[in-house]
């Protein structure tokens, strides 16, 4: 089995990262913004796992990406709970419409 060149993995991760940035900037629905954040987490994890191949003790990058996945799961749960409360309060999940401070 031939080695996958490291640059190609890094380029894939760069593409995924900028797609996530694009989703976070341009989308106005709160859940899609969360999806963009998940895409960014995945790009970062891809880098960690790719470099973990070269680690003599092999697993430090993989351990790090394990904890990144864990924090991402916790973040998604809390963020979606907040989105639900915001939707119940404002009757919309559009970030442009809820960007006001009012009662």
């Amino acid at each position: 089995m031939e080695q996958i060149p490291l640059e190609h993995i890094l380029l894939l991760s760069a593409v995924l990262f900028s797609l996530g940035i694009l989703a976070v900037i341009t989308k106005r629905h709160a859940v899609v913004v969360l999806m963009g954040i998940e895409l960014i987490f995945n790009a970062a994890n891809l880098n960690l796992v790719a470099f973990s191949r070269y680690d003599p003790s092999l697993l430090q990058g993989q351990m790090f990406s394990l904890f990144v996945i864990l924090v991402a799961a916790a973040e998604a749960a809390v963020a979606l709970a907040i989105v639900l409360r915001v939707y119940q309060h404002f009757k919309t999940a559009n970030l442009s419409e809820i960007a006001t401070v009012e009662k």
């Binding site: 996958i4 060149p5 490291l6 640059e7 190609h8 993995i9 890094l10 380029l11 760069a14 593409v15 995924l16 990262f17 900028s18 797609l19 996530g20 940035i21 694009l22 989703a23 900037i25 341009t26 989308k27 106005r28 629905h29 859940v31 969360l34 999806m35 998940e38 895409l39 995945n42 994890n45 891809l46 796992v49 790719a50 191949r53 070269y54 003599p56 092999l58 697993l59 993989q62 351990m63 990406s65 904890f67 996945i69 864990l70 799961a73 916790a74 973040e75 998604a76 749960a77 809390v78 979606l80 709970a81 989105v83 409360r85 939707y87 119940q88 919309t92 999940a93 559009n94 442009s96």
Partner: protein, 170 residues
């Protein structure tokens, strides 16, 4: 070869997730992206991470996101579609980030770094999976982050349940 199939699949479905305006289509194309990334993890000798990706992301986070879509938009009206703002600036910023990252990755000659020359073809050695060594590391070198992670998950669980509760009805 398999890597490029997964990579193209991940990029295409990620791009579709950004381009489509339907929230449910975006959710399901995120599913394909996460599955392809899990496949790439397998090709990078990270079997436990791949299984974790499948169980946590595809089985947990994506189901949460689909619930979030369905609970925060009425399917019949327009709110299942998300509108785009800042399209020009967003594309510009994301494109600049992509160009900058690609340029520095291609310029950096990363595979010539000295500590990357130690790669062996059979990185796993005589083990057939990383599960045992990840378990050993979790209980020795990484035991403090492991316990902190359990605390974080507990706090997130209680916080999410508390935030999502309807206070008027209780």
């Amino acid at each position: 070869m398999l890597f490029y199939i997964f990579a193209i699949l991940a990029i295409l479905s990620g791009a579709y997730m950004v381009l489509t305006r339907n929230l449910l289509y975006a959710g399901f194309s995120l599913l394909i992206t996460l599955l392809s990334v899990a496949g790439i993890y397998v090709l990078l000798f990270a079997d436990f991470i791949a299984v974790t990706q499948l169980m946590v992301y595809v089985g947990g986070v994506l189901v949460l996101i689909l619930f979030g879509i369905m609970l925060s938009s009425r399917v019949h009206d327009k709110s299942v579609m998300s509108e785009n703002v800042n399209t020009v600036w967003g594309t510009l910023v994301a494109g600049l980030i992509l160009v900058g990252l690609s340029y520095s990755i291609l310029k950096a000659n990363i595979s010539l770094l000295p500590w990357l020359q130690t790669i062996e073809m059979d990185v796993l050695g005589n083990q057939k999976s990383t599960v045992q060594s990840i378990g050993l590391k979790l209980m020795t070198d990484f035991v403090v982050p492991f316990e902190l992670a359990s605390l974080l998950l507990l706090i997130a669980l209680m916080g999410a349940a508390y935030i999502a509760t309807d206070k008027q009805k209780v």
